[in-house]
Symmetry: C2
Subunit: 394 residues, 2 copies
């Protein structure tokens, strides 16, 4: 990876990354279109990706990591937009649970994203302008199909493992269902085989917040030189509350006041939680494209693996020989254990090899991104056993 | 009560009600200011209220009902703005659990509201323009103090009972703490003695959505002839999700599609839950003032009955002779049973007479407004026993 951008505001950097990613990328020509579930196609697909470690000679040690809604391909390197460590630096690296001394790790920016893969901020070759809402709606199936095209391009036939949390976990399940012969092992974490009504509801609130911002301009804000940052910040704030648990919020913030001794009887951020949320909103808009937020939330809402398999989730996994490890968190109310267990039940019904762990933590959905020793130990152990079974060198 | 408004758009009606309520109202002059917890005062306080039933000769059968965040004084009559039945028509009326054949029921629009009591849409006598953000921040304590002024005016020294859910329940607790000698019995439902960090977080999202709307104009939208309806609709949508349970949403909507056979691969309301939420948002803005939403959410955030009693909730109730009945709902995650039990524990610690019931329902926080037979039976039984103890005629 090279970082050649000049210093600038973060939002300029973010815009640069969406059109000229600093990570490696592959562009497929019109001869290799991405066929979408909607029936539409993308004829100039670009996939921006990042890799860590070394692919072994028989190409058997590749681990695909799938990122969540607001993640990107910068799993374990300094993020070129934020300057912060990669979002799964604790999990991926030399000697880490997903050990880059042993595995060749790949992560792609999902189609629909804003870090270099084709998304609504990309230039539409038909018009020379950013796609905006002219980009067809993307599904989790489309994201995975695009990743498969990249793996074909890289000469990787089989993945040793595919891992991810939340939307990343949906991609893991989609991989296992769509390409069972290409997935030796799979790690869906804090995820679900479908978005629930409540999940859709919170996403719809976020989309309405974006679209209510007059600077959204029906998705054409990039051309018009504006940005619906207020609406996107509200969307992020609403979503962020759902990523945390009530207990964690209580422990971390409670009713503590922010830099003051008493209530001010006004609408400033009297409470630490208010100040924290405002910061989450304002920092998010510096790095994320509002239209991408619409597309990726929509992809999650549309995901329903049973629905696309004749109404029975077990059908998605019939005959699979993939080894699964499913993990959920006790305080995750967005992707609760019951949804993860539904996946486990379907896998059991399909006769799959599956282990399941519910990890006790008060950190809510975000726990999959955090320092959770039991999660690390689980993944380390699962991958180690799978690697032995696969005959990978230690 | 008289309804003299002409037909018009609902929002005109709502605006009329805020300045010229069709329900009875009392205006207190500068000689009777409302002293606020902030240290400020309101010198022209108006309280709009509604009554049902008949006050008995010794004024001993008055029940004060306290409304929730978006409620009003129209408990059991047709709402003059929406034309719908009053918000607690199931609970209050002849032969209902709160029986207007036996009790004299009063409900005031809270200070800070938008249905005729002094609120941010009222005219500021100092400027001749709507208060907007010049209205001092209102607390639950202020709301209750204003209600006490109205009761004084009506010659009601003692309440037979005070009842309410959510913000209404906070007022009930505040009544019992501030005026124990005036409250014979108290029914705090689906409430808490403090707003939690998560509660504050969701409210802050809503406020930011309102304030992000350029038509909010720093609170001066009424003078400028606009309305931050998009922002307020987003706030309502976000809040509405928190009033329902995941189970109820699943039962009611699941992933059902809205008036279509298959996904449209777009951003219209494909799912019923999306259509439902959008309707909740758009109908709310026709009846509610955006600044009132800021003020009343702030009042809830500020509420912390332990904090205002030397840090110990039990202190709020020491020596009380009020009889309490506390009710919570199993699927209410906004004001969960644990918060209601904290109230019960404090009451027990204070040696108060208290009964507690947790009602099994999947309807979430909104259950207190709905047809919940166990709630009805609980309230009927509690009030009946209390009325006998009080010596009220059957």
């Amino acid at each position: 990876m090279t970082e050649t951008r000049d210093a600038g505001t973060l939002s300029h950097r973010a815009n640069d990354e969406s059109t000229q990613p600093s990570s490696p990328s592959v562009t497929f020509g019109p001869d290799r279109p991405l066929e979408l579930d909607s029936g539409a196609r993308i004829e100039d697909l670009r996939i921006a990706y990042q890799t860590y470690g070394r692919l072994n000679d028989d190409c058997s040690n590749a681990v695909l990591i799938c990122h969540a809604l607001t993640g990107d391909q910068h799993v374990a390197n300094t993020n070129p937009v934020t300057g912060k460590p990669g979002w799964w630096s604790l999990m991926v690296g030399p000697g880490k649970p997903i050990d880059t001394d042993r595995f060749f790790v790949i992560c792609t920016n999902v189609v629909g994203g804003c870090m270099g893969s084709t998304g609504p901020a990309s230039i539409n070759p038909a018009t020379g302008r950013p796609y905006g809402l002219d980009l067809p709606v993307i599904t989790v199936g489309d994201m995975v199909r695009a990743q498969a095209m990249l793996l074909d391009h890289l000469g990787i036939e089989t993945l040793f493992s595919v891992a991810g949390g939340s939307l990343g976990g949906m991609q893991v399940l989609q991989w296992a269902a769509a390409y069972p012969e290409r997935v030796f092992s799979a790690l869906p974490i804090a995820t679900a085989a479908r978005h629930t009504s409540q999940n859709i509801a919170f996403h719809e609130v976020g989309r309405q917040a974006v679209m209510a911002d007059p600077d959204w301009r029906h998705g054409r804000y990039l051309e018009e030189g504006v940005n619906p940052s207020k609406g996107l910040a509200v969307a992020r704030m609403a979503a962020h509350v759902t990523y945390l648990s009530d207990e964690a919020l209580h422990r971390k913030f409670g009713r503590n006041l922010q830099d003051r001794d008493s209530l001010t009887f006004g609408f400033d951020a009297d409470f630490q939680i208010e100040s924290y949320l405002r910061h989450q909103g304002s920092s998010f808009v510096e790095r994320f494209d509002a239209n991408s937020y619409l597309y990726l939330t929509r992809a999650m809402d549309y995901f329903d693996l049973a629905e696309t398999h004749d109404g029975r989730l077990v059908n998605a996994f019939l005959g699979t020989s993939t080894r699964f490890c499913v993990a959920s968190f006790t305080s995750d109310w967005l992707f609760p254990t019951v949804e993860n267990k539904a996946v486990v039940r379907a896998l059991n019904g399909a006769g799959a090899s599956v282990s399941f762990v519910e990890i006790a933590t008060d950190r809510g959905h975000d726990a999959f991104l955090l320092d959770e020793p039991e999660l690390f130990a689980t993944i380390r152990g699962f991958l180690s056993a799978a690697a032995d079974a696969r005959g990978l060198a230690a």
